[in-house]
Protein backbone atom coordinates (compact mmCIF):
# COMPACT_ATOMS: atom_id res chain seq x y z
CA UNK A 1 0.00 0.00 0.00
CA UNK A 2 1.68 3.19 -1.16
CA UNK A 3 0.36 6.70 -0.74
CA UNK A 4 0.66 9.26 -3.47
CA UNK A 5 2.56 11.63 -1.14
CA UNK A 6 4.65 14.17 -3.04
CA UNK A 7 8.39 14.16 -2.37
CA UNK A 8 10.58 17.25 -2.65
CA UNK A 9 14.32 17.01 -3.20
CA UNK A 10 16.07 20.08 -1.81
CA UNK A 11 19.61 20.82 -2.95
CA UNK A 12 20.90 22.52 0.23
CA UNK A 13 20.41 22.39 3.99
CA UNK A 14 18.54 25.72 3.95
CA UNK A 15 16.16 24.47 1.27
CA UNK A 16 15.66 21.28 3.25
CA UNK A 17 14.77 23.19 6.42
CA UNK A 18 12.24 25.30 4.50
CA UNK A 19 10.75 22.24 2.79
CA UNK A 20 10.38 20.23 6.02
CA UNK A 21 8.98 22.98 8.23
CA UNK A 22 6.39 24.47 5.90
CA UNK A 23 2.74 23.38 6.27
CA UNK A 24 1.66 20.65 6.02
CA UNK A 25 4.74 19.41 7.88
CA UNK A 26 6.84 16.97 5.89
CA UNK A 27 8.26 13.58 6.88
CA UNK A 28 12.01 13.32 6.28
CA UNK A 29 13.21 10.55 3.97
CA UNK A 30 16.92 9.88 4.50
CA UNK A 31 18.26 6.41 3.56
CA UNK A 32 14.73 5.05 3.73
CA UNK A 33 15.84 1.75 5.27
CA UNK A 34 13.19 2.07 7.96
CA UNK A 35 10.72 4.53 6.45
CA UNK A 36 10.26 2.92 3.02
CA UNK A 37 9.25 -0.55 4.29
CA UNK A 38 7.06 1.01 7.00
CA UNK A 39 5.35 3.06 4.31
CA UNK A 40 4.97 0.11 1.94
CA UNK A 41 3.43 -2.00 4.69
CA UNK A 42 1.04 0.80 5.68
CA UNK A 43 2.61 1.29 9.12
CA UNK A 44 3.16 5.04 8.69
CA UNK A 45 1.08 7.65 6.95
CA UNK A 46 3.09 10.16 4.95
CA UNK A 47 1.34 13.28 3.71
CA UNK A 48 4.43 14.91 2.23
CA UNK A 49 8.09 13.86 2.24
CA UNK A 50 11.46 15.55 1.81
CA UNK A 51 14.38 13.45 0.57
CA UNK A 52 17.82 14.50 1.83
CA UNK A 53 19.89 12.68 -0.82
CA UNK A 54 20.72 15.89 -2.73
CA UNK A 55 20.76 18.34 0.20
CA UNK A 56 24.53 18.06 0.75
CA UNK A 57 24.01 17.19 4.40
CA UNK A 58 26.33 14.17 4.37
CA UNK A 59 29.67 15.81 5.21
CA UNK A 60 32.00 14.56 7.97
CA UNK A 61 34.58 17.08 9.17
CA UNK A 62 37.04 17.53 12.00
CA UNK A 63 38.11 20.89 13.33
CA UNK A 64 39.68 22.01 16.62
CA UNK A 65 39.31 18.57 18.14
CA UNK A 66 35.61 18.36 17.30
CA UNK A 67 33.96 16.04 14.81
CA UNK A 68 30.82 17.19 12.99
CA UNK A 69 28.76 14.62 11.10
CA UNK A 70 25.95 15.68 8.75
CA UNK A 71 22.63 13.95 9.42
CA UNK A 72 22.62 12.40 5.94
CA UNK A 73 26.10 10.84 6.28
CA UNK A 74 25.77 7.13 5.44
CA UNK A 75 26.59 4.59 8.13
CA UNK A 76 29.25 3.15 5.78
CA UNK A 77 31.19 6.43 6.14
CA UNK A 78 30.58 6.52 9.92
CA UNK A 79 32.25 3.11 10.31
CA UNK A 80 35.56 4.91 9.70
CA UNK A 81 35.15 7.09 12.81
CA UNK A 82 36.96 6.19 16.02
CA UNK A 83 35.32 4.17 18.80
CA UNK A 84 32.69 4.19 20.06
CA UNK A 85 30.86 5.58 16.96
CA UNK A 86 32.77 3.65 14.25
CA UNK A 87 32.38 0.13 15.68
CA UNK A 88 28.76 0.85 16.58
CA UNK A 89 27.99 1.90 12.98
CA UNK A 90 29.83 -1.19 11.73
CA UNK A 91 27.57 -3.31 13.93
CA UNK A 92 24.38 -2.11 12.18
CA UNK A 93 22.98 -4.21 9.32
CA UNK A 94 25.06 -5.52 6.42
CA UNK A 95 27.07 -3.64 3.78
CA UNK A 96 24.05 -2.89 1.60
CA UNK A 97 22.11 -1.43 4.54
CA UNK A 98 25.12 0.55 5.79
CA UNK A 99 25.63 2.08 2.33
CA UNK A 100 22.07 3.42 2.33
CA UNK A 101 21.17 4.12 5.98
CA UNK A 102 22.20 7.44 7.54
CA UNK A 103 23.34 8.54 10.98
CA UNK A 104 20.42 10.97 11.24
CA UNK A 105 17.94 8.25 10.38
CA UNK A 106 19.50 6.05 13.04
CA UNK A 107 19.29 8.75 15.73
CA UNK A 108 15.65 9.35 14.75
CA UNK A 109 14.60 5.69 14.69
CA UNK A 110 12.73 4.45 17.77
CA UNK A 111 14.11 1.64 19.97
CA UNK A 112 14.99 -1.18 19.38
CA UNK A 113 16.67 0.75 16.53
CA UNK A 114 18.85 3.81 17.06
CA UNK A 115 21.98 2.01 18.28
CA UNK A 116 24.10 5.14 17.74
CA UNK A 117 22.25 7.00 20.51
CA UNK A 118 24.39 4.98 22.97
CA UNK A 119 27.84 6.11 21.74
CA UNK A 120 26.58 9.65 21.14
CA UNK A 121 25.24 9.84 24.69
CA UNK A 122 28.58 8.66 26.07
CA UNK A 123 30.35 11.29 23.95
CA UNK A 124 28.07 14.07 25.17
CA UNK A 125 27.30 14.79 21.51
CA UNK A 126 25.46 17.98 20.57
CA UNK A 127 22.67 17.64 18.04
CA UNK A 128 21.43 20.50 15.87
CA UNK A 129 17.86 20.36 14.58
CA UNK A 130 15.33 22.69 12.98
CA UNK A 131 11.58 22.91 13.43
CA UNK A 132 8.97 25.61 12.80
CA UNK A 133 10.25 27.48 15.92
CA UNK A 134 13.81 27.77 14.57
CA UNK A 135 17.11 25.95 15.02
CA UNK A 136 17.95 24.21 18.31
CA UNK A 137 20.95 22.51 19.84
CA UNK A 138 21.05 19.97 22.64
CA UNK A 139 22.13 16.51 23.71
CA UNK A 140 20.47 13.19 22.89
CA UNK A 141 18.17 13.56 25.93
CA UNK A 142 17.18 17.15 25.00
CA UNK A 143 16.40 16.02 21.48
CA UNK A 144 14.16 13.24 22.78
CA UNK A 145 12.48 15.64 25.22
CA UNK A 146 11.74 18.05 22.35
CA UNK A 147 9.69 15.30 20.68
CA UNK A 148 12.41 13.56 18.65
CA UNK A 149 11.50 12.45 15.15
CA UNK A 150 8.24 13.97 13.95
CA UNK A 151 6.89 15.61 10.78
CA UNK A 152 8.15 19.20 10.59
CA UNK A 153 11.49 18.47 12.35
CA UNK A 154 14.81 18.13 10.51
CA UNK A 155 17.90 16.88 12.31
CA UNK A 156 20.83 18.74 10.74
CA UNK A 157 24.02 17.37 12.26
CA UNK A 158 25.70 15.95 15.33
CA UNK A 159 29.01 17.15 16.82
CA UNK A 160 31.27 15.82 19.57
CA UNK A 161 34.74 16.32 20.99
CA UNK A 162 37.15 13.66 19.72
CA UNK A 163 37.80 11.60 22.87
CA UNK A 164 41.18 10.49 24.19
CA UNK A 165 39.93 6.93 23.94
CA UNK A 166 36.65 5.15 23.27
CA UNK A 167 35.30 1.61 23.36
CA UNK A 168 32.15 -0.20 22.21
CA UNK A 169 30.89 -3.70 22.98
CA UNK A 170 27.61 -5.21 21.82
CA UNK A 171 25.51 -8.22 22.60
CA UNK A 172 23.94 -9.75 19.57
CA UNK A 173 23.74 -12.94 17.64
CA UNK A 174 26.31 -13.55 14.95
CA UNK A 175 24.23 -12.43 12.07
CA UNK A 176 24.18 -9.09 10.33
CA UNK A 177 20.41 -8.85 10.41
CA UNK A 178 19.86 -9.44 14.11
CA UNK A 179 19.28 -6.41 16.28
CA UNK A 180 21.56 -5.55 19.17
CA UNK A 181 20.04 -6.60 22.49
CA UNK A 182 22.47 -4.47 24.51
CA UNK A 183 25.52 -2.31 23.93
CA UNK A 184 27.89 -0.37 26.16
CA UNK A 185 29.97 2.61 25.01
CA UNK A 186 32.71 4.14 27.13
CA UNK A 187 34.70 7.29 26.49
CA UNK A 188 37.70 8.89 28.20
CA UNK A 189 37.71 12.63 27.64
CA UNK A 190 40.64 15.02 27.48
CA UNK A 191 40.28 15.64 31.26
CA UNK A 192 40.63 11.89 31.94
CA UNK A 193 37.00 11.50 33.07
CA UNK A 194 35.20 8.38 31.87
CA UNK A 195 31.60 8.51 30.65
CA UNK A 196 29.57 5.38 29.99
CA UNK A 197 26.25 4.82 28.21
CA UNK A 198 24.23 1.74 27.34
CA UNK A 199 21.48 0.72 24.96
CA UNK A 200 19.23 -2.16 25.93
CA UNK A 201 19.67 -1.56 29.66
CA UNK A 202 16.59 0.69 29.70
CA UNK A 203 13.86 1.34 27.12
CA UNK A 204 16.11 3.96 25.54
CA UNK A 205 19.85 4.74 25.65
CA UNK A 206 20.93 5.73 29.17
CA UNK A 207 24.02 7.08 30.93
CA UNK A 208 25.50 4.86 33.64
CA UNK A 209 26.27 7.60 36.18
CA UNK A 210 26.83 5.30 39.17
CA UNK A 211 29.54 3.34 37.37
CA UNK A 212 31.17 6.60 36.26
CA UNK A 213 31.18 7.83 39.88
CA UNK A 214 32.89 4.63 41.06
CA UNK A 215 35.69 5.15 38.53
CA UNK A 216 35.97 8.86 39.34
CA UNK A 217 36.40 7.88 43.00
CA UNK A 218 39.28 5.55 42.12
CA UNK A 219 37.18 2.35 42.26
CA UNK A 220 37.93 -0.78 40.24
CA UNK A 221 36.37 -1.86 36.95
CA UNK A 222 34.61 -4.69 38.80
CA UNK A 223 33.05 -2.25 41.28
CA UNK A 224 32.03 0.12 38.50
CA UNK A 225 30.48 -2.78 36.57
CA UNK A 226 28.54 -3.90 39.65
CA UNK A 227 27.27 -0.36 40.23
CA UNK A 228 26.00 -0.01 36.67
CA UNK A 229 22.74 -1.86 37.32
CA UNK A 230 21.49 0.95 39.56
CA UNK A 231 21.03 3.15 36.46
CA UNK A 232 19.31 0.39 34.47
CA UNK A 233 15.58 0.04 33.91
CA UNK A 234 15.52 -3.47 32.45
CA UNK A 235 12.59 -4.52 30.29
CA UNK A 236 11.32 -7.58 28.45
CA UNK A 237 11.13 -7.67 24.68
CA UNK A 238 11.63 -10.15 21.86
CA UNK A 239 15.42 -9.74 22.04
CA UNK A 240 15.98 -10.38 25.76
CA UNK A 241 14.22 -10.60 29.10
CA UNK A 242 14.58 -8.00 31.86
CA UNK A 243 16.28 -10.60 34.06
CA UNK A 244 18.83 -11.39 31.37
CA UNK A 245 19.51 -7.71 30.72
CA UNK A 246 20.23 -7.17 34.42
CA UNK A 247 22.60 -10.14 34.47
CA UNK A 248 24.64 -9.18 31.42
CA UNK A 249 24.85 -5.40 31.86
CA UNK A 250 27.73 -5.57 34.39
CA UNK A 251 29.55 -8.05 32.14
CA UNK A 252 29.36 -5.69 29.18
CA UNK A 253 30.27 -2.64 31.26
CA UNK A 254 33.32 -4.55 32.50
CA UNK A 255 34.31 -5.47 28.94
CA UNK A 256 33.85 -1.92 27.65
CA UNK A 257 36.01 -0.55 30.49
CA UNK A 258 38.70 -3.20 29.94
CA UNK A 259 38.74 -2.30 26.25
CA UNK A 260 39.04 1.38 27.18
CA UNK A 261 41.92 0.60 29.49
CA UNK A 262 40.10 2.33 32.35
Amino acid sequence: MTSTAAVSMPSSEAEAVAAVTEQPFATVLAGGTLLVPQHTLGQVAVERAVWLGRAEMDGISRSNGRMTVGAAAPLAACTRLDAPVGPCAANIGDNEVKAQATIGGNICSPAPYGDLRGPLLALGAVLRWADPDGTHTGGIADFAASGGARPGMLLLDVAFAVPEAGSFVALRRHHTQSLTAMSVSAVRGADGAVTIAATGAAPDACRLHAAEAVLAGGGSIADAAAASVSDADPYDDALASAAYRSRVLPVYVGRALEQLGA
Binding site: T33, V36, A49, G93, D94, A99
Partner: protein, 173 residues
Protein backbone atom coordinates in the same frame (compact mmCIF):
# COMPACT_ATOMS: atom_id res chain seq x y z
CA UNK B 1 10.16 9.33 -13.50
CA UNK B 2 12.72 7.67 -15.74
CA UNK B 3 14.62 4.45 -15.17
CA UNK B 4 16.88 2.41 -17.40
CA UNK B 5 16.09 -1.18 -16.52
CA UNK B 6 18.29 -3.88 -18.06
CA UNK B 7 19.36 -1.35 -20.72
CA UNK B 8 15.77 -0.43 -21.65
CA UNK B 9 14.59 3.14 -20.95
CA UNK B 10 11.31 3.23 -19.07
CA UNK B 11 9.01 6.03 -17.97
CA UNK B 12 7.35 4.93 -14.75
CA UNK B 13 4.06 6.17 -13.32
CA UNK B 14 4.16 4.79 -9.75
CA UNK B 15 4.02 7.39 -6.94
CA UNK B 16 7.45 8.65 -5.77
CA UNK B 17 7.50 6.77 -2.44
CA UNK B 18 6.74 3.42 -4.08
CA UNK B 19 9.48 0.91 -3.38
CA UNK B 20 11.65 0.07 -6.37
CA UNK B 21 10.67 -3.57 -5.71
CA UNK B 22 7.00 -2.79 -6.35
CA UNK B 23 7.84 -0.66 -9.38
CA UNK B 24 9.80 -3.54 -10.92
CA UNK B 25 7.33 -6.29 -10.05
CA UNK B 26 3.96 -4.54 -10.30
CA UNK B 27 4.49 -1.85 -12.93
CA UNK B 28 7.25 -3.27 -15.11
CA UNK B 29 6.45 -6.98 -14.67
CA UNK B 30 10.05 -7.86 -13.85
CA UNK B 31 9.62 -10.55 -11.23
CA UNK B 32 13.15 -11.79 -10.51
CA UNK B 33 13.53 -9.46 -7.49
CA UNK B 34 11.52 -11.36 -4.90
CA UNK B 35 9.24 -9.81 -2.28
CA UNK B 36 10.62 -11.87 0.60
CA UNK B 37 10.38 -9.86 3.80
CA UNK B 38 9.77 -6.45 2.18
CA UNK B 39 11.67 -4.87 5.07
CA UNK B 40 15.32 -5.22 4.22
CA UNK B 41 16.01 -8.39 6.16
CA UNK B 42 16.45 -11.12 3.54
CA UNK B 43 18.18 -9.76 0.43
CA UNK B 44 15.84 -11.52 -2.04
CA UNK B 45 14.92 -8.21 -3.69
CA UNK B 46 18.49 -7.03 -4.36
CA UNK B 47 19.16 -5.33 -7.70
CA UNK B 48 22.05 -3.28 -9.04
CA UNK B 49 21.51 0.49 -9.02
CA UNK B 50 24.23 2.20 -11.01
CA UNK B 51 26.34 -0.91 -10.44
CA UNK B 52 25.87 -1.07 -6.65
CA UNK B 53 23.79 -3.76 -4.91
CA UNK B 54 20.67 -2.23 -3.36
CA UNK B 55 17.68 -3.69 -1.53
CA UNK B 56 14.85 -2.67 -3.85
CA UNK B 57 12.31 -3.00 -1.01
CA UNK B 58 14.15 -0.27 0.95
CA UNK B 59 14.57 2.05 -2.03
CA UNK B 60 11.98 4.70 -2.82
CA UNK B 61 11.44 5.28 -6.53
CA UNK B 62 12.15 9.03 -6.28
CA UNK B 63 15.65 8.34 -4.95
CA UNK B 64 16.66 6.42 -8.09
CA UNK B 65 15.09 8.67 -10.73
CA UNK B 66 17.37 8.50 -13.79
CA UNK B 67 19.36 5.52 -12.50
CA UNK B 68 20.40 2.36 -14.34
CA UNK B 69 18.85 -0.71 -12.71
CA UNK B 70 19.97 -4.25 -13.47
CA UNK B 71 18.11 -7.38 -12.39
CA UNK B 72 18.97 -11.01 -13.05
CA UNK B 73 17.15 -10.72 -16.39
CA UNK B 74 19.80 -8.21 -17.44
CA UNK B 75 22.86 -10.22 -16.47
CA UNK B 76 22.79 -12.87 -19.16
CA UNK B 77 20.53 -14.77 -21.53
CA UNK B 78 19.74 -18.49 -21.39
CA UNK B 79 22.19 -18.94 -24.30
CA UNK B 80 24.83 -16.65 -22.84
CA UNK B 81 24.74 -16.80 -19.05
CA UNK B 82 26.98 -14.54 -16.98
CA UNK B 83 29.98 -15.98 -15.18
CA UNK B 84 28.15 -15.91 -11.83
CA UNK B 85 25.02 -17.51 -13.29
CA UNK B 86 27.13 -20.30 -14.81
CA UNK B 87 28.90 -20.86 -11.51
CA UNK B 88 25.56 -21.11 -9.65
CA UNK B 89 24.45 -23.81 -12.09
CA UNK B 90 27.75 -25.66 -12.06
CA UNK B 91 27.95 -25.74 -8.27
CA UNK B 92 24.25 -26.47 -7.69
CA UNK B 93 23.92 -23.24 -5.72
CA UNK B 94 20.14 -22.98 -6.15
CA UNK B 95 17.60 -25.20 -4.44
CA UNK B 96 14.12 -23.65 -4.45
CA UNK B 97 15.66 -20.59 -6.11
CA UNK B 98 13.87 -17.95 -4.04
CA UNK B 99 17.06 -16.34 -2.78
CA UNK B 100 19.03 -16.97 -5.97
CA UNK B 101 18.18 -13.79 -7.85
CA UNK B 102 19.33 -11.57 -5.00
CA UNK B 103 22.35 -13.78 -4.34
CA UNK B 104 23.40 -13.74 -8.01
CA UNK B 105 23.00 -9.97 -8.25
CA UNK B 106 24.97 -9.33 -5.03
CA UNK B 107 27.63 -11.86 -6.09
CA UNK B 108 27.88 -10.14 -9.47
CA UNK B 109 28.58 -6.81 -7.74
CA UNK B 110 31.19 -8.55 -5.58
CA UNK B 111 32.94 -10.19 -8.54
CA UNK B 112 32.74 -7.02 -10.66
CA UNK B 113 34.41 -5.09 -7.83
CA UNK B 114 37.35 -7.51 -8.01
CA UNK B 115 36.31 -9.60 -4.98
CA UNK B 116 38.54 -12.60 -4.25
CA UNK B 117 37.63 -16.25 -3.64
CA UNK B 118 38.27 -15.78 0.10
CA UNK B 119 35.35 -17.37 1.93
CA UNK B 120 35.25 -14.77 4.71
CA UNK B 121 35.18 -11.92 2.20
CA UNK B 122 32.34 -13.59 0.30
CA UNK B 123 30.43 -14.19 3.53
CA UNK B 124 30.81 -10.51 4.40
CA UNK B 125 29.60 -9.40 0.96
CA UNK B 126 26.55 -11.71 1.05
CA UNK B 127 25.86 -11.33 4.77
CA UNK B 128 22.48 -9.70 4.21
CA UNK B 129 21.19 -12.56 2.07
CA UNK B 130 19.16 -15.41 3.56
CA UNK B 131 18.85 -18.77 1.87
CA UNK B 132 15.78 -20.41 3.36
CA UNK B 133 16.96 -23.74 1.93
CA UNK B 134 20.28 -23.12 3.76
CA UNK B 135 22.34 -23.96 0.70
CA UNK B 136 25.12 -21.62 1.78
CA UNK B 137 28.06 -23.97 1.19
CA UNK B 138 27.21 -24.39 -2.49
CA UNK B 139 26.57 -20.67 -2.85
CA UNK B 140 29.99 -19.84 -1.37
CA UNK B 141 31.63 -22.38 -3.70
CA UNK B 142 29.87 -20.86 -6.70
CA UNK B 143 30.85 -17.29 -5.87
CA UNK B 144 34.45 -18.34 -5.19
CA UNK B 145 34.55 -20.10 -8.59
CA UNK B 146 33.18 -17.00 -10.31
CA UNK B 147 35.66 -14.78 -8.45
CA UNK B 148 38.56 -17.00 -9.54
CA UNK B 149 37.25 -17.08 -13.10
CA UNK B 150 37.13 -20.89 -13.17
CA UNK B 151 36.50 -22.34 -16.62
CA UNK B 152 33.07 -23.93 -16.32
CA UNK B 153 31.45 -26.20 -18.86
CA UNK B 154 27.87 -26.20 -17.65
CA UNK B 155 26.77 -28.58 -20.42
CA UNK B 156 28.75 -31.29 -18.68
CA UNK B 157 27.76 -30.22 -15.16
CA UNK B 158 25.22 -33.01 -14.76
CA UNK B 159 27.83 -35.68 -15.43
CA UNK B 160 30.60 -33.91 -13.52
CA UNK B 161 32.67 -36.13 -11.23
CA UNK B 162 32.23 -33.46 -8.54
CA UNK B 163 28.53 -34.09 -8.36
CA UNK B 164 27.16 -37.29 -6.92
CA UNK B 165 23.56 -38.26 -7.41
CA UNK B 166 21.46 -40.31 -5.08
CA UNK B 167 18.90 -42.35 -6.94
CA UNK B 168 15.69 -42.77 -5.02
CA UNK B 169 14.44 -46.33 -5.40
CA UNK B 170 11.54 -46.42 -7.79
CA UNK B 171 12.02 -42.83 -8.92
CA UNK B 172 13.14 -43.92 -12.39
CA UNK B 173 9.69 -45.11 -13.39
Amino acid sequence: MELTVNSVSCTVQSPPLTSLLNVLREELDITSPKAGCESGGCGACTVLVDGQPRRSCLTALCTVDGAAVVTVEGLGTPEDLSRVQQAFIHHYAAQCGFCSDGMVVAATAYVNAGGSDDTDAIREALAGHFCRCTGYVKILEAVAAAARGDELDIDSTASSANNTYVTIAGAES
